[in-house]
Amino acid sequence: MRRVVITGAGTINALARDVPGTLAAFREGRCGIGPLEFRDVERLSIQIGGQVRDWNPEQHFNRQQLVIYDKFTQFTLLAAREAVAQSGLNFDGHLGYEAGVVLGTAGGGVNTWDENYRTVYEEGKNRVHPFVVPRLMNNAAASHLSMEFNLRGPVFTVSTACASSNHAMGQAFQMIRAGQCKAVLTGGSESMLCFGGIKAWEGLRVMSKDACRPFSLNRNGMVQGEGAAVFVFEDYEHAARRGAEILAEVAGFAMTSDAGDIVMPSQQGAARAMAGALRDAGLAPDEVGYINAHGTGTAANDRTECAAVAEVFGAAADRVMISSTKAMHGHLIGGTGAVELLACIMALRDGVIAPTIGHDEPDPECALDVVPNVARMARVKAVLSNAFAFGGLNAVLALRAAP
């Protein structure tokens, strides 16, 4: 089996439009959640989110590109450009045939669906733009990355709700580990902050009207975000040979299914995924210094996740730091694991643990070190990143510091 490392990272989210800005926000514990701004927002009962403000796609894309790129594709391309530039890779030659793309998204081109349904149902028009289908399809972003960077190997999208990005990155990891690819662009993107996107979520009554407060006793629900993060996963020897800067090593991955309930999480399913990732990485629980939690800020997730950590880590659960950065950037649904992997890289590289902001009161049912409100300096050698999706699908990545 081949070793897999990360040699490039890029993002755009409510906190910043690049990785340095996002990491700075993590260090400062800054909140990117605020009032949503889009058409018909006044008809929603939930009016806050982690929105990318003043988004001006004309700054990044020409007219022909804009007619074919939904916002989730625009976010993906922006993040990928930053990641590929950092990696220093050029896929124009033979490498393009040994490189691919695996991305996660839950909704794909939700804004495109929303705008065009409005056109035909609300405005009563009988014609929509001819590119509606290629804009909204879930694989659009992956395909546009392949075209922009000449990636001619395996290219596809996985969609597992809130675990999409982690499933995608796990797949990319396994493809390089198996020798199928030398490099894979991977991560995820989501952009469902629009009237229909939020209206659909309201019905479940799990969203907060005021703030995302993971692990805090007074938490009252999740808050959505939008954006993307893309990473260059690369064969370690390939990266080492060209003297690339290595951000971290992807050491293990596991996925499980609860086979239980379509929305309620299961401690056992989450615990099996964490234990599986540790086993796959050859890590003992006490070697893990930090867990990036799924930490949605719902009553059900946070309690179940903490119980699962306690079960898997045993005595080491009292020493491991666990935080949820969703209180800062919101829940990016299918893109969330990708943005959150940045906090894992920051912990391993910079020795800074991103805080769980909005933490007002400890919850006895979440009795772990949740790094409340203020970032912390700490040396960690290995980390986990959790994602637990609706549908009972769990995906956990294990990372080690760069070799």
Partner: protein, 89 residues
């Protein structure tokens, strides 16, 4: 009207619980009716649609809700309150 609200609420809960309305007692809890979290949000949706009301309920903090869900009788009273509010508005 009260009788009407009672019958309609019971009919909605019976439909969600897949029970005969006659088998539902006013003191039953949602758990007694076998309604889980999804059954609950679906019932609230059905009540909102039937009575043209908006039920304030966040699944993360059920205790903080003004809408009393502790029994069938409580739900009927809460719906009556919201219907009266809507009529007054």
């Amino acid at each position: 009207m009260t009788q009407n609200v009672t019958e309609r609420v019971i009919a909605i809960l019976a439909d969600q619980a897949m029970m005969d309305p006659a088998a539902i007692r006013l003191e039953d809890t949602l758990a007694d009716l076998g309604l889980d979290s999804l059954g609950l949000v679906e019932s609230l949706f059905a009540l909102e649609e039937a009575f043209d009301i908006s039920v304030p309920f966040n699944a993360n903090e059920p205790a903080k809700s003004d809408f009393d869900l502790s029994s069938v009788a409580a739900i009927i009273a809460a719906v009556e309150g919201l219907v009266a509010e809507a009529r007054a508005a």
